[in-house]
């Protein structure tokens, strides 16, 4: 943790949500800032340079995705989406537009704060990429392009490695199907989710202790995958 307490901007028009998020964030050592509209939110991001942003998609003055797009033009810190389950496609759109993660309403404060911690750590990791990622018996050396499991080298195909590296570098960030497909197979295959199903399955077979209850590569149903961080 850095010396000052991380500043978190909450953009949500529901005063009741602000009413419990503010004290909860303050109590866990963050400095909460609130914005009730999209416009106000963008101004706060520019002026206060928060360490992370929590953004509600349903804002009165402008669409949450619009806020996201505009913010990404000048802000590269983590942005967490608050979304209702009936806005599934909007959630995926938001992730594709550059959001780092999402939390579905209604949510417990503990879950939101956990996601926030991951996002913040990821931000720090991204600042100086760690060439080696370790998790339990799993070790990925990005410099050597080497994957070992309990000390033994694991043989991966180039596509499998690319996919794994992409997820691991995400550091727990949700990557949508589209993002993964575009990065590994190219834009022409952005909709071919079946590729992912096959390759993720293969990776889990090779890397997970129990492929049926994966801990390294986690599924976000209908959205994408993330790398298990803890």
């Amino acid at each position: 943790m850095t010396a000052h307490s991380p500043r978190i901007l909450i953009i949500d028009d529901e005063p009741q949500i602000q009413r419990f998020l503010q004290p909860a964030l303050a109590a866990s050592g963050y400095e909460p800032v609130k914005a009730m509209t999209g416009r106000e939110g963008l101004a706060e991001i520019a002026r206060r340079a928060p360490d992370a942003v929590v953004l509600d998609l349903g804002l009165p003055d402008m669409d949450g995705k619009e806020v996201l797009t505009r913010a990404r033009a000048f802000y590269d810190g983590p942005i967490l989406i608050l979304s209702a389950r009936d806005r599934e496609t909007e959630k995926i759109d938001a992730l594709d537009l550059g959001a780092d993660d999402y939390v579905e309403k209604p949510f417990g404060v503990g879950e939101l704060l956990a996601r926030l911690r991951v996002a913040l750590r990821h931000k720090i990791e991204r600042a100086g990429i760690k060439p080696v990622i370790e998790r339990g018996g799993f070790k990925l050396d990005l410099t050597l392009r080497l994957v070992t499991r309990n000390g033994e080298a694991v043989r991966l195909s180039p596509k499998e490695y690319d996919l794994l590296a992409l997820l691991a570098e995400g550091g727990g960030k949700v990557l949508t199907h589209k993002q993964l497909l575009t990065a590994v197979w190219g834009p022409a295959h952005a909709e071919d989710v079946q590729y992912l199903r096959v390759f993720i399955g293969q990776l889990r077979q090779k890397l997970e202790d129990d492929p049926a209850t994966p801990r390294l590569i986690l599924t976000e149903s209908g959205v994408g995958y993330r790398f298990g961080v803890e």
């Binding site: 529901e14 005063p15 009413r19 909860a24 866990s28 009936d86 209604p106 949510f107 404060v109």
Partner: protein
């Protein structure tokens, strides 16, 4: 196919097999002549089947009084015949409906080629059998080979007896099994001599001729060949199904070229035999029409129509090619379709064509099309007297044309006679030429030629020396006269041909114009009813008399449009219409199904579905031209009906989509309204759980308050939803009792007081107010909903005024706020479900149900509710509730 890969069964063959599986199986006992014992053998086999436990029923068997046949019938179930009245005589016919209702496993139907009594469902028994097979009943039947359509000519040539009862070849091909009942001709003649063969008395003479030894030998050969061929076909079919590799008469294609004369039908039959000989090769019957000579006289059209229809019956593709040069058209067709065998008649095509060009036969021989050429000897006089002739259309009209032309010549003769004193003989010829020209222009080619010759004779007789004889005296006169004849023939011929072509053209133009009008009217019609009426009008105007259009309605078809009027159809007409609808076949007059009806029923076959049926009353059989016009019209009509149907479907789909969108919006709204308070409750509660100890006491207090408020909000929302459900489900019961509205209002204000914040709620109640009959609970909820709405849409610190007063009819409650007001356009909709103004100033969003519920409750108590806005200088809203006074008896609870 490549080697190594297993041969796959031919899918078409398998499909055919699948179609056959649900159909009944047909077995034909085939014989060469009457008396060989087909019926006998069939009954013996039937007895064996019955003994083996099969459900055998005799549909119809003619015993002709033979003892052994009758003995065999004993012990078998024999169906009763159906009496049919025909010209005062009562005929006993096979009862097809009874057979279908009885549904035996195996039905015996003797004499496949039998013609049914007029008035039966089908004219021919083989058509009855086809229906039985479709119904899934197995049928055994008997047939003599001479009754086969394609062998009709051959048998006639062999025996000199023309068979009137014929069976199309594909009716025999449909048989799953053929059993040949063979007997040596000598044995048969012996049986005939012993009187064991039934021969009707009237045919005794003919039969003497028929049963000659050489005839029987030839017929026996035909029967054997046909049976062998069917075995072949079945073998080929079985091998195809099994995926055994061909050759299956590979690539053989036959083209039969026919003219438009009496010999055409024989040529078609010859084509079928050729096709049979080379392994059931696909064959086409074609006629070449020359655009410059488009008009065939009615007789020729009739011949052509008959021949093309026969071709289709015998399994050929029938078509009309168009081209100025027959040879070029034929050669092009031959090349494009890989025709390997060409069949032509000798008479028509050996005729040399004008200007020294070779005959068609010669031209085809010279050209290297690669196709084998078969030339068949035609004998048009074969047109046996026994063949029923159709009444010739418009025969009388022709005579009138000739008479009129003769009249022109007579008038010309009269004028010339009067003028002869003043003019030279040569000039008089001009008068006759005028008559010839007039005949040509008005009546066409043939009358003009008649007029030319008549003029020649009259001119010669009356004006050329020696007078009053056909003798010609001087050589100069001879020359003049024959020159006149030649000129008259040429002029008349030219004029006549021009007239014929012009009239043909105008008929074509009329047909095209009419089709254009049809298409315009059809495209203007938007509903199926309008389309149906348009079809009825145009069909009636174009080709027939009374016309009815039937469209599907709930699994049945019903007459929906008619010209000149929509008259209900009789039972038999409906049967024919249903037949056309269910099978997609033409039925009624001029067809094989219910031909005794005055109308013909045509199915309207669209591109995807059958759209309906058109019933037309023909004054006479249709000419091919009229047939083409009708076909075009029906096609257009069917497509238009289909389009109307699609348009209706599209409208339905659009309505559904809209209501889906509405439902999605409602669901969205409900889920948002439920989830937001839940988020707050869950979030606040988890905050308290996780961070309770480190939070300030004030913050803890605030979070707890927030939980309570949101839980209350949720509870109200759920209550609203329940109220709405009760209202909509009709489950709302009002409990009317004597109520003081002031108490109701005070209670309502009390309930909303806490949420009102700094808004001031003013009361303006009179000291004296009548009691009314009302449900205090519902009334209070109605007022609470309006108050909550007023709070949500007016800023903090403003006033809300609640007033009550009495007027002539009842008590009026008035609730006014000082909010932004409601835009006039929205006023009417504020009482609608889930209607919400854009931005309530308070963050406590309502459910969008409150005012709808108020309205429902007030109306349930017999009252009325209305909103007005703006009320003070462009802002503020007033809601008025009026409840009836006791003088008015309270309305019954909903």
């Amino acid at each position: 196919m490549t080697t190594g890969e297993p041969l796959r069964p031919d899918p078409d063959a398998l499909l055919e097999e699948a179609a056959r599986a649900s159909r009944g199986r047909l077995k034909v006992f085939l014989g060469m002549a009457p008396g060989v014992g087909k019926t006998f053998e069939m009954l013996r086999s039937a007895r064996r089947a019955k003994a083996a436990g099969e459900d055998v029923v005799v549909g119809v068997v003619e015993s002709h009084g033979r003892q052994e046949t009758q003995a065999l019938l004993r012990g078998l179930e024999v169906m009763a015949r159906q009496p049919m009245e025909h010209r005062g005589r009562s005929l006993l016919e096979f009862d097809i409906d009874g057979a279908i209702a009885r549904r035996p496993a195996l039905l015996l139907v003797d004499e496949y080629a039998h013609s049914n009594a007029p008035g039966s469902r089908h004219p021919k028994r083989w058509q009855d059998v086809a229906e039985l097979l479709d119904a899934g009943i197995n049928v055994w039947t008997t047939l003599n080979v001479q009754h086969l359509e394609s062998l009709n000519d051959v048998v006639w040539k062999i025996t000199g007896v023309r068979q009137l009862e014929t069976v199309p070849d594909n009716a025999l091909s449909a048989a799953d099994e053929i059993e040949l009942i063979d007997l040596t001709p000598e044995e048969l003649r012996r049986r005939l001599a012993d009187g064991k063969v039934y021969v009707p008395e009237t045919a005794r003479l003919a039969s003497e001729k028929f049963f000659r030894l050489e005839n029987l030998t030839a017929l026996r050969e035909l029967a054997l060949r046909r049976a062998a061929q069917t075995v072949d076909d079945q073998l080929v079919g079985a091998m195809k199904r099994a995926g055994v590799e061909g050759p299956w008469a590979a690539g053989e294609r036959i083209l039969v070229l026919i003219g438009a004369d009496a010999a055409s039908s024989s040529l078609v039959r010859a084509g079928r035999r050729l096709s049979d000989m080379i392994g059931d090769a696909p064959w086409t019957v074609a006629h070449v029409e020359r655009p410059s000579h488009p008009v065939l006289d009615e007789g020729a059209q009739q011949h052509l129509g008959t021949a093309l229809k026969l071709a289709e019956q015998l399994g050929a593709a029938a078509l009309i090619l168009s081209g100025e040069d027959i040879v070029i058209s034929v050669k092009a067709y031959v090349r494009q379709n890989n025709v390997t065998q060409i069949l032509v008649g000798n008479r028509r095509f050996q005729r040399r064509r004008p200007f020294g060009r070779p005959s068609l036969t010669a031209a085809l021989l010279e050209d290297s099309t690669g196709a084998a050429l078969h030339v068949v000897t035609e004998a048009p006089q074969e047109q046996a007297p026994a063949l029923p002739r159709r009444p010739r259309l418009a025969a009388g009209v022709n005579w009138r044309r000739y008479l009129s032309s003769a009249g022109f010549v007579a008038i010309a003769t009269g004028i010339a006679y009067l003028l002869q004193a003043r003019f030279a003989d040569a000039d008089l010829s001009m008068v006759f030429l005028t008559a010839v020209l007039a005949s040509g222009v008005l009546h066409g080619l043939r009358p003009a030629l008649l007029a030319a010759t008549a003029s020649f004779l009259a001119y010669n007789f009356l004006f050329i020396e020696p007078l009053y004889t056909f003798w010609i005296g001087s050589p100069a006169n001879l020359l003049a006269l024959f020159a006149f004849w030649a000129v008259a023939l040429a002029t008349g011929g030219l004029a006549g041909r021009v007239r014929d072509q012009a009239s043909a053209l105008s008929r074509h133009t009329a047909a095209i114009t009419s089709l254009l009008a049809v298409s315009r009217r059809l495209s203007a019609a938007t509903t199926k009813g309008e389309v149906a009426q348009a079809i009825a009008d145009h069909v009636s105007a174009g080709v027939g008399g009374e016309t009815t259009v039937l469209l599907p309605e709930g699994g049945e078809i019903a007459a929906v449009a008619g010209t000149p009027t929509l008259t209900p159809l009789g039972t038999s007409a409906m049967t024919a219409a249903r037949w056309a609808w269910e099978r997609g076949e033409v039925a009624g007059a001029g067809t094989g199904t219910l031909p005794q009806l005055p109308r013909t029923f045509y199915p309207l076959q669209g591109s995807r579905v059958r759209a309906g049926v058109v019933g037309v009353e023909h004054s006479a059989a249709l000419t091919p031209e009229a047939q083409r016009y009708l076909t075009a019209l029906l096609d257009q009509g069917a497509v238009a009906l289909e389009r109307a149907e699609f348009a209706a479907d599209a409208a339905d789909a659009e309505a559904l989509r809209r209501s889906d969108r509405l439902r999605a919006a409602l669901l969205n709204s409900i889920s948002h309204d439920l989830r937001t308070p839940l988020s707050t409750v869950l979030g606040s509660a988890t905050t308290l759980l996780d961070y309770g100890p480190v939070l300030e006491p004030d913050t803890r207090q605030d979070l707890l308050l927030s939980i309570r408020e949101e839980a209350e909000r949720l509870s109200r929302y759920v209550g609203d939803l329940l109220d709405m459900t009760r209202l909509e489900g009709g489950a709302l019961v009002t409990r009317q009792e004597w109520t003081d509205i002031r108490d109701v209002l005070a209670a309502a204000i009390e309930r909303v007081q806490r949420r009102a914040g700094n808004r001031r709620i003013d009361r303006d109640f009179p000291a004296d107010l009548s009691l009314i009959q009302a449900d205090p609970g519902l009334a209070e909820q109605a007022v609470v909903n309006i108050l909550e709405n007023a709070i949500a849409y007016s800023p903090d610190g403003t006033a809300i005024e609640v007033a009550a007063y009495e007027d002539r009819r009842g008590i009026v409650i008035s609730i006014e706020d000082e909010g932004r007001g409601v835009p006039t356009a929205e006023l009417e909709r504020v009482f609608e479900k889930f209607h919400r103004l854009e931005e309530p100033s308070d963050r406590h969003k309502g459910s969008g149900l409150g005012l709808a519920i108020s309205k429902g409750f007030v109306e349930a108590m017999g009252g009325q509710i209305a909103a007005a806005s703006p009320i003070h200088d462009g802002h503020g809203t007033r809601v008025l509730i009026s409840l009836p006074k006791p003088a008015t008896p309270p309305e019954a609870a909903a």
